[in-house]
């Protein structure tokens, strides 16, 4: 049972345009969401996160939107740059009184290619 899904395996965008990466989840207990970026032969790098008490979080060119009723989150990158080309993973976790130990459940990843 895939609790976190990224249904688009790949996305191609022109430099300067907006990149929108999507993620859906099924577990209603999830209350904290994260995005990671991964370059080949490197470990994933934390990008941005959002708590379920918010619907938007912004950090420079990166904005994450959360729609709890639809169990959907998205990552917007504006403007997109060639250096943003990487695999992007969304992840989710829950607190549950501290018993979750911060375990993350990841989506399958989306390969973003930004063309010059």
């Amino acid at each position: 049972d895939q609790q976190v899904k990224q249904n688009s395996p790949s996305l191609s965008v022109q430099e300067g345009r907006i990149s929108i990466l999507n993620c859906d989840y099924t577990n209603s207990m999830f209350d904290y969401f994260l995005w990671y970026k991964k370059y080949p032969a490197e470990g994933p790098t934390f990008l941005i996160s959002i708590s379920s008490i918010k619907d938007k979080n912004e950090d420079g060119r990166f904005t994450v939107f959360l729609n709890k009723s639809a169990k959907h989150l998205s990552l917007h990158i504006v403007p997109s740059q060639p250096g943003d080309s990487a695999v992007y993973f969304c992840a989710a976790t829950y607190n549950a009184g501290g018993t979750s130990y911060g375990k993350l459940t990841f989506g399958q990843g989306t390969i973003l290619t930004v063309h010059p």
């Binding site: 490197e42 470990g43 994933p44 790098t45 996160s49 990841f106 399958q108």
Partner: protein
């Protein structure tokens, strides 16, 4: 840089042999995690630790064991390697405790089981 190193970075081994991967951190964090990354699956949690000698199973723990005898080291052992365990293995630490869930990853170990 989260001060995480993994060793070895690459390993080729034969089916049926035991293999141990090491994760070392320099920042004294309580929580440590082992994930594997496979195409079409993203990252999946194998085992995690919430303190010295405190470990528990993750989503895909069959065939793996872990040990944490000191804060800085978290070892992952494949008791008898199989071809299905060919993967890239990542270790991660969690810097915060309550309310902070960001994990920071090491560079990974690419394991090939022939």
């Amino acid at each position: 840089d989260a001060g995480i190193t993994q060793s070895p970075r690459h390993k080729v081994t034969e089916t049926g042999t035991p293999v141990t991967l090491r994760c070392h951190q320099t920042e004294n964090h309580r929580y440590m995690y082992w994930y594997r990354q496979d195409p079409g699956h993203g990252l999946r949690l194998i085992h995690y630790s919430y303190g010295v000698k405190d470990t528990d199973k993750g989503e895909v723990s069959d065939g793996y064991s872990v040990s944490r005898s000191k804060t800085e080291d978290f070892l992952l052992t494949l008791e008898s390697a199989t071809s299905s365990q060919t993967s890239v293995y990542f270790c991660a630490i969690r810097r915060g405790t309550s309310g902070l869930y960001e994990q920071y990853f090491g560079p990974g170990t690419r394991l090939t089981v022939t």
